[in-house]
């Protein structure tokens, strides 16, 4: 990462100076151990624990278990959580928070375009998403292209710049996100170079991947013969990362036949694909589950079918259909299509339509982590994983439950009892619109 590590801490220190915050200092200290004791725990990695303790220190989880089974370090700050529910931080596989953009109207395929070059760490969508319990988000460029560009995997840390949020180690050499693709009606537009039909859309994508295969072959040949590599091509470089499975494709696809087209492309070129939206998943659940190219399917819960032709057969039952077929099923907001603050509702609606509670809880956390190759860091309450957790007032699937606190890497980033955070949770004058009210200044003027 390019930033100096001290910057995030500086932001945190400035936060502490605000008199309205009145938080106990030790709880915010990253290095001291914190023990959350007495909450109902949803570890995801194992059965729910009716009364448990989570110990976090140094930004990671040190212990998880029943209250009487976890030894709290003597120097730990103990936070009593009786009556609360704690689950892992929520993972959103598809969002547009951050005010960024991606590929433009110059063409339908933009593999070199990175959303991280346009992401605003001060966008009001970020604190609102924290208010929904989100901690890890795949921010997508686009849409309206066959390939809108590279996505960004971010943590919703209390940061000043994009570097404070990114999950990759180095913005120039690391894998900081996936690749956004789309088919169906989404990439069709009446402009030069854009497809007018589905078949044309597939042909354009295949032609570009064939070029990437040839580029990769030249790279390998030069490597073996120890000669000069071909001249750099940013677009083909990114596509080679896709071909090698290092950069996961996040594929906007709705209609059943478009879903199969996405799978066919992934299998032909050997890339790994997360199917995003998948309105018709209930029709092709078996095919989705059976394909080795499919990492998982992330569904969006929309309140009524339609709104566009490719979503006319959308059903709340896609979740249960995919679960029964054995697929990895996640959820996403597509924020602003749905509001990050209502993420828990997406899983609840899937359960309403027959999905199991366990699969829905897994879908909000671990499934998303898998889809972003982050399962070693986030998605469950397990020793060694990032200390990302959400404190809820009650059951995650109840409408009456509120997100009370969101923690990322051992640091509290949302607290419903803080007036500033509460404003992002419920709205109000001056809360909306990026730049009007920001993290640490100006809110008081608007109360």
């Amino acid at each position: 990462m390019l930033r100096a590590p001290s910057q995030a801490f500086a932001a945190c220190a400035c936060l502490l100076m605000l008199p309205t915050l009145a938080l106990p200092g030790p709880v915010q200290a990253q290095d001291g151990a914190i023990a959350f004791r007495g909450a109902h725990l949803i570890p995801i990695a194992g059965p729910e624990i009716p009364r448990g303790t989570v110990v976090v220190q140094g930004g990671v989880i040190r212990a998880v278990g029943p209250v009487d089974g976890v030894t709290i370090p003597s120097n730990a700050t103990v936070v009593e959580m009786d009556g609360k529910v704690i689950m892992p931080g929520i993972v959103d596989t598809h969002s547009h928070i951050g005010g960024g953009d991606g590929g433009d109207g110059t063409g339908p395929i933009h593999p070199s375009v990175r959303i991280l070059d346009a992401l605003d760490a001060r966008d009001d969508g970020i604190p609102k998403a924290r208010a929904g319990g989100l901690t890890t988000v795949n921010v997508m460029p686009g849409s309206g292209h066959l390939m809108s560009g590279q996505t960004a995997y971010i943590k919703l840390r209390d940061g000043r710049t994009i570097y404070d949020l990114l999950l990759c180690d180095d913005v120039l050499t690391g894998m900081c996100g996936g690749m956004k693709m789309a088919n169906g009606t989404n990439p069709r537009r009446d402009a030069a170079g854009f497809p007018g039909t589905r078949a044309r859309a597939a042909a354009l994508v295949r032609a570009r991947f064939v070029q990437a295969q040839e580029y990769r072959n030249r790279l390998q040949a030069e490597e073996e013969e120890d000669g000069d590599p071909p001249s750099r091509d940013l677009e083909l470089e990114a596509l080679v990362e896709v071909l090698e499975g290092r950069r996961v494709v996040h594929f906007h696809t709705h209609r059943h036949d478009d879903v199969l087209t996405a799978i066919r492309l992934a299998e032909e070129f050997g890339f790994r694909v997360v199917l995003q939206h998948v309105s018709d998943a209930w029709m092709v659940a078996d095919e989705i589950a059976a394909s080795p190219a499919v990492v998982g399917a992330s569904i969006i819960m929309i309140d009524s079918p339609g709104g566009k032709l490719e979503a006319m057969n959308l059903s709340f039952e896609s979740g249960v259909a995919l679960e029964r077929a054995g697929a990895v099923v996640g959820f996403h907001t597509d924020d602003g299509i749905t509001d990050s603050r209502f993420f828990l509702r997406s899983a609840a609606l899937a359960v309403r339509a027959g999905m199991s509670r366990d699969a829905a809880l897994y879908g909000m956390t671990m499934a998303g982590a898998i889809m972003m190759d982050l399962q070693h860091r986030v998605g469950s309450l397990e020793v060694g994983k990032d200390a990302d957790l959400v404190v809820l007032s009650g059951d995650p699937l109840s409408v009456y439950t509120r997100v009370e606190e969101t923690w990322i890497e051992g640091e509290k980033v949302f607290d419903l009892s803080d007036p500033r955070d509460r404003a992002f949770a419920v709205g109000g004058y001056g809360v909306g619109g990026s730049g009007h009210v920001h993290h640490h200044a100006g809110w008081e003027d608007h109360q």
Partner: protein, 419 residues
């Protein structure tokens, strides 16, 4: 307010007597012989008093409620179909929607909620464009809505008329409850976007509306002066504006910003029309003014996107207004994209999640909109003589995990699937 029985007798509504007769014929709904049904509820929310544990509702062959009360005091007649549910409420009343004019495909051929040729067209009648077989009508019905206030949408200074239907029937005649309920109006920058700058500002929009109402006043004056002579040539636009001036048809004004809400109140005061505030995202900043004006509010859907003129919206506005004593009705409103229609139950539930008391949340989807629409003698609560419109739930109606497992309209079971 025009009710069904009066439609035929009012030439102002239907134009020619011949058309009146035709419409009147369509409007008679003969309950079928099997319309008798009784429902047992673990918890019965009548909305006419406290909830009844172990309640029973009996709907007669005429589609009206014959009896309602605790199981111990209500006799279910022999041979009647009996249904059971954990919780039962009156059929939900959506205070404002465009469903039926707006279709779910969102293609030009199924979008009839906004005519873009002119920013002021109050003469456009909702029942001329309602598709009773629209998929979204079925969708909202299966999720509990039995009475729908629908019609022309937001986006024009005056986009057209609204009406009230029941969410059944194969055509508008079978569905219709009230043919002309309100005129849909909008104050805000989206009007300028929709009409290429005519008006080009909020102030111009208000000036244009004032000019039209003044024309309508003059038209009424000419009609009165002409009692002994020939009346002025008919003008459909000025006729409906005149009915607004008479207080017979409400103005449904979509206004979100403080300036837009104040302009709506000012117009209502200047011309004496009956105002219903719609959307009202910043109404929490104008509690005193709205209360003083005695204006009811159809609050924006709780989960409506907080952008544009709604960027200052809150999830707590319904609670704040109700606590201030302002009647609040919930709506699904208008969506230009996905979801093409919101779900009334989900929006009311989310208002409850953000502080609106449970009973008030139910009231905002039943008795409050029934009162607002002038239909509380027929719908909105479970009382003897009212329409037998009922919704059956597997649990607390507001919970995410509760399913709607039955919908009854005037004694007819229109949905039995759990959704």
């Amino acid at each position: 307010m025009s009710r069904v029985p009066s439609v035929a007798s009012k030439s102002a509504v239907c134009g020619t007597p011949a058309l009146s007769v035709a419409l009147a014929t369509l409007l008679i709904w003969a309950p079928s012989a099997d319309a008798q049904v009784a429902v047992r509820a673990g918890t019965l929310h009548t909305m006419a008093g406290p909830a009844i544990e172990n309640g029973v509702v009996v709907v007669g062959a005429d589609g009206r409620i014959q009896a309602v009360g605790p199981a111990s005091s209500v006799q279910i007649p022999q041979g009647m179909r009996v249904m059971e549910a954990a919780v039962v409420t009156p059929g939900l009343v959506d205070a404002h929607s465009v469903v039926g004019l707006a279709g779910y495909l969102n293609q030009p051929h199924d979008q009839d909620q906004l005519e873009r040729s002119n920013a002021i067209q109050p003469e456009l009648r909702a029942f001329d464009a309602y598709n009773a077989r629209e998929e979204l009508v079925s969708w909202v019905q299966r999720l509990g809505v039995t009475t729908l206030h629908t019609g022309h949408g937001p986006g024009a200074l005056m986009s057209g008329q609204t009406m009230v239907v029941k969410t059944r029937g194969d055509n508008v005649g079978q569905a219709l409850v009230d043919s002309v309920t309100m005129v849909a109006m909008t104050l805000g920058p989206e009007v300028s976007q929709n009409f290429q700058g005519r008006p080009g500002s909020r102030s111009r929009g208000v000036a244009m509306l004032r000019a039209e109402f003044i024309k309508a006043q003059e038209y009424q004056a000419r009609q009165e002066r002409a009692e002994d002579g020939p009346p002025p040539a008919r003008d459909l636009k000025l006729e409906i504006l005149g009915r607004m001036l008479d207080g017979e048809v409400h103005a449904l004004i979509t206004a979100n910003r403080v300036s837009e809400i104040l302009a709506a109140l000012r117009l209502s005061e200047e011309f004496g029309f009956s105002l219903v505030l719609d959307g009202a995202a910043e109404s929490y900043l104008l509690i005193d003014e709205i209360r003083a004006a005695g204006v009811p509010v159809i609050i924006h859907p709780t989960m409506a996107r907080h952008g544009g003129t709604m960027e200052n919206a809150t999830l707590e506005t319904a609670r704040i207004l109700v606590e201030a004593g302002i009647p609040v009705s919930m709506q699904t409103g208008f969506e230009g994209y996905v979801p093409k229609s919101r779900v009334l139950l989900f929006e009311g539930a989310m208002a409850a999640a953000y502080g609106l008391p449970h009973q008030e949340a139910l009231a905002s989807m039943t008795i409050r909109p029934a009162q607002l629409l002038g239909l509380d003698h027929r719908v909105g609560s479970l009382e003897v003589g009212k329409d037998g419109d009922l919704v059956l739930y597997s649990g607390d109606p507001l919970e995410h995990l509760t399913q709607v497992c039955g919908v009854i309209i005037e004694g007819e079971v229109v949905s039995e699937e759990c959704l």
